[in-house]
C-alpha cells in the first residue's frame, strides 16, 4: 500500500543524510564564493543587478555581496543572515564570519562522514568556542586609560580595516579621517551624526573631514550667500499654499471679484506666516518642505536665508547640531529655541554648490566629503569608510585590542588544540576540527595574496609554539612578521562576534536533519 501524498504539490522533503548534504553543500559554496575577497590582497566582485538599468556595483564587502545574491538554498540563507547581523552589530568582519562558518561546516562534514553524531560535534564546537574566546581574553590589550596610546590603537585598527578595501592606497589619510570623526562623537555610537557626502571628481586623496555641517542644498535666489553669527530656525511646515485642514471645506464663489479677494487673503495669510517667522529674529530659515517662490521672495526681502526641501534626516541632524528645535507653529516666538552657528556660507566642491555651517554649538557632528573618479568608486569608498567607522565607534566603547594578520586565529587554534588533547571521548575530534577551521583563515589570507600558504602557516605555527609570540602573516613582504612592529591590530569585539556567530550558525545548520520546502507561492505576473 503506497503512502498517500503527504505534502501539497511541489512541496519537497529532504531527509537525513540528503538534507545534511544539501545544507553543507549550500553553506560551503557560499563561503567559497566570498573566500577570495578575504585579506588585504583579496579580490573584488562585480555585481550586476537584474533590475532596470542593470546597475553595476564593484565591492569587496562580504555583507554587500551576499545581500545581492538570489539564493535558493536554505542553509546558505542562514549564512547570509549572519553576515547581515555582523554588519549591523559591529560593521566589519562580514566576510570572515561567513568563511569561518563555512570552514566549520566543511570540517563537520568530514566528521559526520566518519560516523560521529552531529550533536557530539556541536558540543565539541561549543567547548572549543568557549576555550578560544578565553584564549583571546587572556591576550587582549586595553589602552583605554592612556589616551595617546588609545589613539594610536584606533589608528592601527582603522588602517587594518581599510587595508583590505579599495581605500588601501590612501589608508593613512582615511584612517586619520575616520579616527578624527569618531573621536568627535565622544563615546556615542550614533553614526547618524557623521554625514558622508559623495561628489564625483578629483581623486580619493582630496577627500576631507569638515568640522561643521554641510547641507547639499542651494540657497534661494537673491538671498545673502554668507551670514555671520547666524540664528537658525529649523522648521517642518508647509510653505506653499497653506491647506485648510478642516474636513470638507471648499471654496465656492460666484464672481471673479471674489476669487481675487480670496487670492489676496491667501497671499495675506502667507505674508503673515512669513512675517511671524521673521519675527523670531532669525537670519536663516531651513524648511523640510518646499518653499514656494512667493515666500522665498519675502524672505529675500527681509534678508533672511531660506533653504527649502532639506530631507528629514538632514533636518534632524541640523537641529541636533545647531541646538535648535524643529518648529511647526510660529505664534509664540519667545518659546521657540533657535539654533546658532558662527558662519553660514556657500562653498564649491567640484562643480556643486553646497551650504556650509561652521562654528556650530555642539561639536559632535561632522561631515566627511568623499571625492573620487567614478560613482562606483565612491560607493565602495563609502562602504569601506562605513566599516571603519563602525569598528572604531565600537572600539571606543569596548577598547580591548588584538593583533591582526592571522595572529588571533593562531592563538585560538593553539589553545583549542591543547583542549582537544585534554578532552576524553569523541568530542575531542570535533575540537580538533575546530582548530583546523581556525587555521584555515590565515591560510586563505596567504593564498589570496599568492603566497605559499602551506609554508607560511607551518612557520607561523612554529612561531606560536614559543610563548608570547606576536607573529602573523605579513602579506606585503610575503613572510611571517611581528604584528606589534607592523602595527596591525584588530578590535576584540569584532573577533569575538565573528567567533561566536560563526559557531552559532554552524551549530544551527548541523542540528538540521530534515528540510521541508513549501511550494513557492504562485505569482500572477509570472512569465
Amino acid at each position: 500500500m503506497a503512502v498517500e501524498r503527504l505534502f501539497k504539490d511541489e512541496a519537497t522533503e529532504e531527509k537525513g543524510e540528503r538534507a545534511r548534504m544539501a545544507s553543507f553543500v549550500g553553506a560551503v559554496a557560499i563561503a567559497d564564493l566570498v573566500k577570495t575577497t578575504l585579506g588585504p590582497k583579496g579580490m573584488d566582485k562585480i555585481l550586476q543587478s537584474t533590475g532596470r538599468g542593470h546597475s553595476v556595483t564593484v565591492t569587496n564587502d562580504g555583507a554587500t555581496i551576499l545581500k545581492s545574491l538570489h539564493i535558493d538554498n536554505a542553509a546558505a540563507k542562514v549564512l547570509v543572515d549572519i553576515s547581515k547581523v555582523q554588519d549591523d552589530e559591529v560593521g566589519d568582519g562580514t566576510t570572515s564570519v561567513v568563511v569561518l562558518a563555512g570552514e566549520l561546516l566543511r570540517e563537520a562534514e568530514k566528521l559526520v562522514n566518519a560516523k560521529i553524531h552531529p550533536m557530539t560535534i556541536i558540543s565539541g564546537y561549543r567547548m572549543a568556542a568557549e576555550c578560544a574566546r578565553n584564549a583571546l581574553l587572556e591576550k587582549v590589550v586595553d589602552n583605554k586609560l592612556d589616551a595617546e596610546k588609545f589613539k594610536t590603537d584606533l589608528m592601527k585598527i582603522a588602517m587594518t580595516t581599510l587595508s583590505s578595501k579599495i581605500l588601501s592606497q590612501d589608508k593613512e589619510h582615511f584612517a586619520k579621517l575616520a579616527v578624527d570623526a569618531v573621536m568627535r562623537l565622544k563615546g556615542s555610537t550614533n553614526l547618524e551624526s557623521i554625514q558622508i557626502i559623495k561628489k564625483p571628481g578629483g581623486s580619493l586623496k582630496d577627500s576631507f573631514l569638515d568640522e561643521g555641517f554641510i547641507l547639499d542644498k542651494k540657497i534661494g535666489v537673491g538671498q545673502p550667500k554668507r551670514i555671520e553669527n547666524a540664528k537658525i530656525l529649523v522648521a517642518n511646515t508647509a510653505m506653499d499654499t497653506d491647506k485648510v485642514k478642516i474636513y470638507g471645506a471648499r471654496v465656492r464663489v460666484d464672481s471673479m471679484a471674489k476669487v481675487a479677494e480670496i487670492e489676496v487673503a491667501e497671499k495675506e495669510k502667507m505674508r503673515e506666516k512669513v512675517q511671524k517667522i521673521i519675527n523670531h529674529g532669525i537670519n536663516c530659515f531651513v524648511n523640510r518642505q518646499l518653499i514656494y517662490n512667493f515666500p522665498e521672495e519675502l524672505f529675500a526681502d527681509a534678508g533672511v536665508l531660506a533653504i527649502e526641501h532639506a530631507d528629514f534626516d538632514g533636518i534632524e541632524r541640523l537641529a541636533l547640531v545647531t541646538g535648535g528645535e524643529i518648529a511647526s507653529t510660529f505664534d509664540n516666538p519667545e518659546s521657540v529655541k533657535l539654533g546658532h552657528c558662527k558662519l553660514i556660507e556657500e562653498i564649491m566642491i567640484g562643480e556643486d554648490r553646497l551650504i556650509h555651517f561652521s562654528g556650530v554649538e555642539m561639536g559632535q557632528a561632522c561631515t566627511i566629503v568623499l571625492r573620487g573618479a567614478s560613482p562606483h568608486m565612491l560607493d565602495e569608498a563609502e562602504r569601506s569608510l562605513h566599516d571603519a567607522l563602525c569598528v572604531l565607534s565600537q572600539t571606543v566603547i569596548d577598547s580591548r585590542v588584538l593583533f591582526g594578520g592571522g595572529w588571533p586565529e593562531m592563538v585560538m587554534a593553539k589553545a583549542v588544540d591543547e583542549l582537544a588533547r585534554k578532552t576524553p571521548g569523541k568530542r575531542s575530534h570535533a575540537i580538533e576540527a575546530f582548530s583546523r577551521a581556525l587555521v584555515a583563515i590565515p591560510t586563505i589570507i596567504a593564498d589570496n595574496a599568492g603566497l605559499d600558504s602551506a609554508e607560511l602557516v607551518a612557520q607561523l605555527r612554529a612561531e606560536h609554539h614559543k610563548e608570547e609570540s606576536n607573529a602573523g602573516i605579513d602579506v606585503i613582504s610575503g613572510s611571517v612578521g611581528d604584528m606589534a612592529d607592523l602595527g596591525i591590530s584588530e578590535a576584540f569585539k569584532v573577533k569575538q562576534a565573528v567567533l561566536l556567530s560563526a559557531t552559532e550558525a554552524a551549530e544551527m545548520i548541523l542540528r538540521v536533519d530534515e528540510i521541508i520546502t513549501c511550494a513557492p507561492r504562485r505569482r500572477e505576473d509570472r512569465m
Binding site: 547581523v85 561549543r126 485642514k245 509664540n332 542540528r511 521541508i516
Partner: protein, 535 residues
C-alpha cells in the same frame, strides 16, 4: 466502485460524479490512513528530547525557519493529506491547551497507529482496538496520577519552577542559556500570577524581540515596551512619574461621519475658518495639559502643527501605537482609554514611575520603555539574539516555558521526565492487560508497547542503543520499584530522573495520552475515504 441498481437496471447515483472520485474502503482505507499518520509522526520523531534535531522549513515566500517545536513544524509543513491534517490539529490543540509536549503527542499517536496496524492484520476489528485503547488510556491516566508528586514552591522560592522550565528549554536551540531564560520565564509568570486563585493570564506577558546583541542580553522588564519613538525628535527622552493620557482620537481637526461641506465664499469666512483651525489644535493640546498629563500615547497620527504644539508645551507624545499595546499600557498603568478629548479627566490618566526611550546598536532603532507602572502585573520579556531566526525560535521556546510554569501554578503535580513516566505507565498497563477478558486484552497490550515508543525515540536521538537501554531501564524500574528511572539523554551518569531534576507537569503528560488516544480512535473509525480526483 460499488453500484446499486433499481428495478430497471439503471444505476443509482449516490455520489455526484462518482466516477471522477477516488474512493478507498474498508481495510485499505484504514491502512492508508494509518500510514499517513505514521509518516507525519516519523518526521517529528527525530526532534524529540534534549538531543533532538531541528527541521529547516522554507516557506512559500522563501523565508527559512529552523525549529524543533512540533507545533511549529507541523503548522508550516504544508500538509495536504487529510489524516496528516488531523495530526497537525492534534499538535495544535496540545499547544493551545498545555503549550508544551507538542512533539511528544504526535510521536505517541504515531506509535499507537503503528501498533493498531499490526492488530488489524490479525483480524481484530478496529472498534475493538479503539475500545481497548480507551481502557488502556484510562489506566495510564490513573497511574500517572498515582506516581505523580506534589511539589512545593512559593513566590519567594521558585527554584523548583525554574528546574521544570529548564527541562522544557533543554530540548531547544537556546539551551546554551537555559538557566537565565528559565529564570526570566518563571519571574514573568509569578509577576502576573494570581496564586490564590491559581490562575495565570498569559496575555499580560508580552514577548518582544529585536535583532542584535546576544541571547544573554535577554531581559525581563516590569512594564511595557513599545516599538515606537517619541513623535518629535527633540522631546524629552525620559519622564519620571509620568501621568499618561491614553487616547484613541487623532490630533487632527474632527471629521464628522455625516457628509457635509463647508462653503467659503468670502474673505471673512476664510479667515474665521483659519482661526477656527488653529483653535482646534490649541484646545486639544490644552485639554491634555489641563488634566495634568505629562505623556500622551495616541493610537493615531498627529498633524505637524499639533506635533510642534505638543513639543512647545513640553508634552511628550507617542503616536501610532497599536490597539493591543494600547490596551496593555492601559492595564499596566491603570489608566483608561479615552476616545474623545472632552472626556479627559485626571482620574483617567495612567501612572508610570519611569518612561524612557532607549536606542540600540549602530542602527537607528529606538524603543520606549514604560516601567514602574501603577499596576505592575503586566511584564515584557525582551529577547535579543543574533538573527531573526534565533529570535523567533527563542520566542517559541519562551512561550513553551511560560506555559509550563503556568500549568504548574494551576496544578502543582509533576511526573518525572526522560521517558520514566511512559515506562512506568507501560509497565502498569501491561500488568492490567491480563485482567481483561476478550479481544481488548491485545489492544491494551499494544497500548503498552506504544508507550515504549517515546523513551525509545529519546534513546535513539541521544545516540544510545534504543532496545538495550529501554529494557535495562524497564527492568530496573520493576526491580527497584522506582518510577523515576528514565533515559539518561545528557550522559550524566545516572538514570534516576529525580537526581537529574528532569520533570514535567502531570496535566501535560495526561493530556498527551488522552489527546493521542482520541485522535487514534477517530482515525481507526474511518473506513471510507472519498476524495475528489485530480483535476
Amino acid at each position: 466502485m460499488a453500484l446499486a441498481f433499481d428495478e430497471y437496471g439503471r444505476p443509482f447515483i449516490i455520489i455526484r460524479e462518482q466516477e471522477q472520485k477516488t474512493r478507498l474502503r474498508g481495510l485499505d482505507a484504514q491502512k492508508a490512513n494509518i500510514s499517513a499518520g505514521k509518516a507525519v509522526a516519523r518526521i517529528l520523531r527525530t526532534s524529540l528530547g534534549p538531543k533532538g534535531m531541528d527541521k529547516m522549513l522554507q516557506s512559500p515566500d522563501g523565508d527559512v525557519t529552523i525549529t524543533n517545536d512540533g507545533a511549529t513544524i507541523l503548522e508550516q509543513m504544508d500538509v495536504d493529506s487529510q489524516i496528516g491534517k488531523l495530526m497537525v490539529e492534534l499538535s495544535r490543540s496540545q499547544d493551545y491547551e498545555i503549550g508544551d509536549g507538542t512533539t511528544g503527542v504526535v510521536v505517541m499517536a504515531g506509535a499507537l497507529l503503528e501498533q493498531a496496524e499490526k492488530l488489524l492484520e490479525r483480524g481484530i476489528h478496529p472498534i475493538r482496538i479503539a475500545e481497548g485503547y480507551e481502557v488502556a488510556s484510562r489506566i495510564a491516566f490513573e497511574h500517572l496520577e498515582h506516581i505523580s508528586h506534589k511539589f512545593e514552591f512559593s513566590a519567594t522560592n521558585a527554584e523548583s519552577l525554574v528546574q521544570t522550565c529548564m527541562t522544557t528549554l533543554s530540548s531547544k536551540i537556546v539551551n546554551r542559556c537555559k538557566r537565565s531564560l528559565a529564570e526570566i520565564s518563571v519571574k514573568a509568570v509569578l509577576a502576573v500570577a494570581d496564586l490564590e486563585r491559581k490562575d495565570v493570564n498569559l496575555d499580560l506577558i508580552k514577548v518582544e524581540g529585536k535583532v542584535g546583541g546576544k541571547l544573554e542580553d535577554t531581559e525581563l522588564i516590569y512594564g511595557i515596551i513599545v516599538d515606537k519613538d517619541m513623535s518629535h525628535p527633540q522631546m524629552p527622552k525620559q519622564i519620571e512619574n509620568a501621568k499618561i493620557a491614553i487616547l484613541t482620537c487623532p490630533f487632527e481637526p474632527p471629521k464628522p461621519k455625516t457628509k457635509h461641506k463647508v462653503d467659503i465664499d468670502s474673505v471673512e469666512k476664510f479667515q474665521t475658518l483659519r482661526q477656527q483651525e488653529r483653535k482646534y489644535f490649541d484646545d486639544m493640546v490644552q485639554q491634555c495639559k489641563d488634566v495634568g498629563a505629562t505623556l500622551v500615547i495616541c493610537q493615531w497620527g498627529f498633524d505637524d502643527e499639533a506635533n510642534h504644539l505638543l513639543m512647545n508645551r513640553n508634552l511628550p507624545a507617542v503616536r501610532w501605537v497599536g490597539g493591543v499595546e494600547l490596551e496593555l499600557i492601559a492595564i499596566a498603568t491603570g489608566g483608561r482609554i479615552v476616545p474623545r478629548f472632552q472626556e479627559l479627566t485626571p482620574e483617567k490618566l495612567g501612572k508610570a514611575g519611569l518612561v524612557r526611550e532607549k536606542a540600540f546598536g549602530t542602527t537607528k532603532d529606538r524603543m520606549i520603555y514604560i516601567e514602574h507602572c501603577a499596576n505592575s502585573r503586566a511584564v515584557t520579556i525582551f529577547i535579543r539574539g543574533g538573527n531573526k531566526m534565533m529570535i523567533e525560535e527563542t520566542k517559541r521556546s519562551i512561550h513553551d516555558a511560560l506555559c509550563v510554569a503556568r500549568n504548574l501554578i494551576r496544578n502543582n503535580s509533576i511526573v518525572y521526565g526522560g521517558g520514566s513516566a511512559e515506562i512506568s505507565c507501560s509497565i502498569a498497563v501491561e500488568a492490567a492487560a491480563d485482567k481483561y477478558p476478550g479481544v481488548e486484552q491485545y489492544a491494551i497490550r499494544a497500548f503498552a508497547d506504544a508507550l515504549d515508543a517515546i523513551p525509545m525515540a529519546l534513546a535513539e536521538n541521544s545516540g544510545l542503543q534504543p532496545i538495550e537501554t529501554l529494557s535495562a531501564v524497564k527492568s530496573q524500574q520493576i526491580k527497584e520499584n522506582n518510577t523515576c528511572c528514565g533515559i539518561d539523554c545528557n550522559d550524566v551518569g545516572t538514570n534516576d530522573m529525580r537526581e537529574q531534576d528532569v520533570f514535567e507537569t502531570l496535566i501535560g503528560k495526561q493530556q498527551q495520552i488522552l489527546l493521542a488516544t482520541q485522535v487514534v480512535k477517530m482515525i481507526l473509525k474511518i473506513d471510507d475515504v472519498i476524495s475528489p480526483s485530480e483535476y
